[in-house]
Subunit: 255 residues, 2 copies
């Protein structure tokens, strides 16, 4: 440990995360090239002045992100497609505002903003009772002044407080993270294709035969509380959803 001023940052992050980020940067910079071997765990432990277990925890991070491949007996190599994986990681979809930061102008039109009681389905998805009021927000997001997605969000007041229509016109996620100081955890999403409704045709300006890509999701805070149940409808020509699936880690449980 010894989290004193080790030279660089005083950020007091854990060593293994620091090391993981350093190694990630080396892959990004091309210091470690796709297909080539990384130094052995022993060598890395010596370089960073730490134990092998700590190096292994750092490598776990990179491995989960599909950036490296570890083979018993053989060694650790940089994964194929590591560069494109890095691209995907950096564009991890947390919110539309963040996703397009620096790449396009995002504007938001709040079509509906209401506080009401949840229906049975919403109660179940958000793990709340029928007496917990929720925000019901319908927003149209534009990118570069062209309609991009139609977002219908339900959030419980018991978790998200002091949300206003004005905030909803900006980035709700940024508000939650910076103003409320809450950490976003995991989400479960179902992605489907659908026929456009009248609202879709009106707001997304699509024709009746142009499909809609819908993402229906429940999002949780890091402490496990569900805070958003939403259905987002996209024009079919405005890109898709990119997903990395690691069968190994998920199926590690089943063997």
């Amino acid at each position: 440990m010894l989290k004193l001023t080790l030279g660089r940052k005083v950020t007091t992050i854990s060593q293994y995360k620091d090391i993981a980020n350093t190694l990630k940067a080396r892959i990004q910079n091309g210091d470690y090239v796709t297909g080539e071997h990384l130094p052995s765990q022993k060598e890395l432990a010596e370089e960073f002045g730490t134990s092998r277990v700590t190096i292994q925890k750092a490598l776990d991070e990179l491995s989960n992100a599909n950036l490296i491949l570890r083979r018993q007996g053989s060694g650790t190599t940089v994964a194929p497609n590591s560069q494109s994986t890095l691209d995907i990681l950096s564009s991890q979809y947390e919110g539309t505002t963040k996703l397009f930061a620096g790449r396009g102008k995002v504007s938001t039109q709040v079509l509906h903003f209401e506080i009401r009681l949840p229906n049975a389905h919403e109660q179940k998805r958000l793990s709340i009772s029928d007496s917990t009021p929720v925000y019901d927000i319908l927003r149209l997001r534009n990118v570069d002044d062209k309609p991009y997605e139609l977002d219908h969000s339900i959030m419980p007041l018991s978790v998200i407080r002091n949300l206003t229509e004005k905030i909803a016109a900006g980035s709700i996620y940024t508000f939650i993270e910076t103003q409320l100081g809450l950490k976003i955890g995991s989400s479960i999403r179902k992605i489907t294709a659908d026929i456009p409704s009248e609202d879709d045709q009106k707001y997304l300006q699509c024709h009746h035969n142009e499909p809609i890509l819908q993402v229906s999701q429940t999002v949780h805070l890091a402490d496990g509380r569900p805070f958003e149940y939403s259905q987002t409808r996209h024009r079919y020509d405005k890109g898709g959803v990119i997903v990395i699936n690691n069968f190994l880690s998920s199926n590690g449980l089943e063997a």
Copy 2:
């Protein structure tokens, strides 16, 4: 260690995976109830006769699967929605044949089966040269005798050997895992909505205004070699793709 006959299985799996599975089963059986605390790491270490670090590695597995929540100072609890998460885990999408095992009759019609050289795009996706031949396979999968998906797969012969049209009429994934003895690793998918092509309308029996849900993916073996680049087109009314996204672990690298 001490992987001798410890009493139950002789499967020689690592302790922490064994423990993870045991704990998972307890959640599944309701021995540990959603929202309630698990025994502390210290208690679990005593119960399983192991060290705390090993228990932590087991809990890492459950945590990655979104089955538990760990809070410093507070304790470890069963995650909300743990039961539905278990459902999703058990239906992890590896192949259509497996997905519907026991739930519907899957039949496959091989529409095209060819060995040829890859184009530039396929070379890039599969990390192969222009002289490495590939299988080009188009299949129609039916569930309960109704068209379900139209699958176009490209696989390099350098990785997948001895594939025949007859095998393609069954489950290619089962062939790869059991006959070739290869382990499937991770996949990267892009999910989009699209307008049906003539082939879609013909084989999936959908109308020109019924959207298609397309999953375009590159799948890797556990050792990192890409072995399949495919585009699968689904009828929009036959369900969607369910995805669990763990922001914490993926963003652990970015902080």
